[in-house]
Symmetry: C2
Subunit: 469 residues, 2 copies
């Protein structure tokens, strides 16, 4: 960690611990430079980082102040799902919400995607153009499942850099993470099997369970620290769980991040029960803290964890390139891939491989993270200002979703319907559970640097919610 | 049909009917020009076409002669499968044969792919580069399932040109035809259902049935005219068939082509029984005759036929762009696509759309067809020359496979094993049936304009087969 990052972290802790309160003035740059024995530019960089994350605000000629809006917000409690086994039937509504993402006239609070303007598409286009112009025709055959050796090597290097050893041989390139997750699910289950998921959980996981004719059991999940490992342990004792599908890093929709110790405990528990983990880690690169969180896979010693990710949320939306580091199931996953869609697109694979080889990805990621961290602040501030009293909201340390728990009297479906009539999309909580239990919750996307439009939309949604409350 | 095509067809008929025998001299260009009242250049074009198809040969200073090698070959009989319902389990061998396609040191007689050198990859690269450089970032969201509107419009135009009305709304873009077929299967079946397939059938169909936990019933199929509609009718009376997966045009592995009347009868039969048809038409563009064969879908009036194809075999291998014209099931297929892999790759979709808009596809296809027709001749001639007496071989009018029935004493697995030891891949008949019945058959790929290497390989295989016979 660099010096300014360490300093930013310390200051952030004094804020989150309440030693510095919202509205209070921070020590000046000169004071801090002197008291800490660091250069003024280090302090500037640290304050700049904290400002980007929305923790502090600069006021012209007055200095830096702790932001209002975030620290005073209440987080939701951990979920308490009924841990019944149940068949999965995803509602029609999911398709409407997904369809809304395509409608440019709507303010995309309900979208599953970050703004496509956040990605280096022109640079990718150059890399892609160069790669296909000199493409060896035989690559169109040889890049079929398990995928381009060059790209798999690049992905392997990134695992190495984050301290999670992954053998290139266990990497299978897929059409985005969604396919990777679905293939992993197919590799370790058969129709009728039981799969454990978080509560709330990503509706895509529920859809995949439905498609594979699987049943779900939902596990209590904390909005900050993720799935409750003890609750999962209790479920594993009582139910014949065949696989877990979890998102340890920046869970969708909660944004929760499991601490390392929980990830380790999770992998130990699953190893004891020999239950494979399908780890959905598509938001792992979008962290606001000082370092990239490791996947649970980093604690896996026996190949039981299938780690799935993609470039869709971090670099190249629409390229449809994801992967599974599928451990001991890699061969099965590669075969399922071959059987279901032969291979991932060769131009996309070769273009990404070219882009990664020539650098710029980490620089892009730094910008992207800073933008998202700032947008989180914009959205949280608007929610704090405009939503009804009693609203609870998560404060994720990564990704681009907040999960909003409205007062119990607010029906999220009604809110969604009324917001749509104002050209605003919302993702109602119903979508995120097999028993449609999150009825006064919505997931709000903050991945669009479009502040005026978002603030106005959140004000409108807040006004509607207050009327419904 | 152009004048030279009509003439070529007439001459071809005199050959196939035996009025002109192998080795006999054709009337000279001047004679034919006079007798038919057409210009000498028309005759030249017709003879050139027949030469390209391997029916006649030019001998310097002597004129044109009917080719040896094809007319004397015996075709296999129609298949007579046992029409039991059976669970599907595809052998390990399929993956080895697919893996062999990636090994450049092998002569790819067993490959499922034509040579990638046959495709206009540099022109596609230019179109792709242009398309992605000016890509509207929002296309990365808007091109998700059902796919790019521009590409769907281009595909719709091609249906229109072949006289098969397809509504753009029923088109779903997929990651190649394999995914299209698999999604269509998923849309109309549930685990345990029974699906009718040809015998022999494409092993990819058997793999898809296995993945979906479906059972298969195999239908008698003629090497020239395709599936026996009467045999299918009898099966539909006795079995609860939930879907048919068939290849009316240039079936893999037989290369058979159903006559229009059979296609019409097939659709009428299925309409009567309300059994959906999943029509695999990936080789439809690769016809050697004078016009493109229509899909069975052209006779469908009620949206019961799901027509699946792709650009992978005709234009853009590795781009992973296919589609389903899914009739009344289009909405379900689009949703399954969204649930399983969100969308097809945007760069590939936009690149192909750009290429199709600016033309050159039909010119490329004409060259490709002429090359394949010629290669068929090379391979058939080598088989006639080198394989053991009693060998039967199909004479397909399109695609790039011949199906070879060896004497009963030749075990195709043993032949495959021995050929591999000579660096030659083969696709043994076992792969093409749920009950692994085609034990002295092999599928031979002729889609590689690599004559010396192919002729030598076929000579080696013939020598091994003779030793085994």
């Amino acid at each position: 960690m660099k010096r300014y990052e360490a300093l930013a972290r310390e200051v952030a802790e004094t804020i989150t611990k309440g030693q510095l309160l919202p509205g209070e003035r921070l020590p000046s740059v000169r004071e801090t430079s002197r008291s800490r024995g660091v250069s003024p530019s280090t302090v500037f960089e640290a304050y700049y980082l904290l400002e980007a994350r929305g923790l502090i605000e600069a006021r012209p000629r007055s200095g830096y102040f702790v932001s209002h809006g975030i620290a005073q917000q209440i987080e939701p409690e951990a979920s308490t799902p009924v841990t019944n086994e149940r068949a999965v039937e995803v509602s029609e509504l999911v398709f409407h919400v997904l369809g809304d993402a395509k409608n440019r006239t709507l303010v995309p609070l309900g979208s599953a995607f970050p703004s496509p303007t956040l990605f280096p598409l022109p640079k990718l286009a150059v890399a892609l153009g160069r790669a296909v112009r000199r493409l060896d025709p035989w690559r169109t055959v040889e890049d079929l499942s398990p995928g381009s050796p060059a790209l798999r090597r690049q992905i392997g290097l990134r695992y190495l850099a984050m301290g999670c050893g992954v053998d290139t041989e266990e990497l299978v390139i897929t059409n985005g993470a969604m396919e990777a997750l679905s293939l992993c699910l197919g590799a370790v289950t058969k129709p009728g099997d039981l799969v454990a998921v978080e509560s709330p959980t990503f509706y895509g996981a529920l859809q995949a369970l439905e498609r594979h004719n699987l049943r779900a059991v939902e596990i209590a999940t904390h909005p900050r620290s993720g799935v409750d490992v003890a609750a999962l342990a209790a479920v594993l004792e009582r139910h014949a769980v065949k696989a877990c599908w979890l998102m340890p890093n920046f869970q969708n929709p909660l944004g929760s991040l499991m601490p390392d110790s929980s990830k380790q405990a999770l992998v130990e528990l699953l190893t004891k029960h020999q239950v494979p983990l399908i780890e959905d880690d598509v938001y792992g690169e979008l962290y606001f803290g000082s370092h990239k969180p490791k996947p649970a896979k980093a604690w896996d010693r026996t190949g039981l964890v299938m780690h799935c990710s993609s470039f869709s949320k971090s670099l190249a939306p629409g390229y449809r390139v994801g992967w599974a580091a599928a451990g001991r199931f890699a061969k099965d996953v590669a075969r399922l891939k071959l059987m279901s869609s032969l291979g991932a697109p060769v131009p996309s694979q070769e273009g990404l491989s070219e882009y990664l080889r020539h650098g710029g990805y980490d620089r892009h990621l730094r910008q992207l993270r800073a933008t998202l961290a700032k947008q989180r602040y914009v959205v949280l501030r608007a929610i704090a200002k405009c939503f009804p009293a009693g609203t609870k909201v998560t404060q994720p340390e990564g990704g681009y979703f907040v999960w909003v728990e409205l007062p119990k009297t607010v029906d999220a479906l009604e809110l969604h319907r009324l917001a749509l009539s104002h050209d605003i999309s919302l993702a109602p909580g119903h979508l995120f559970s097999a028993d449609h239990r999150y009825r006064h919750h919505v997931r709000v996307n903050f991945g669009h640097p479009d502040n005026k439009r978002f603030e106005a939309a959140l004000k409108t949604v807040g006004t509607i919610a207050k009327a419904l409350a």
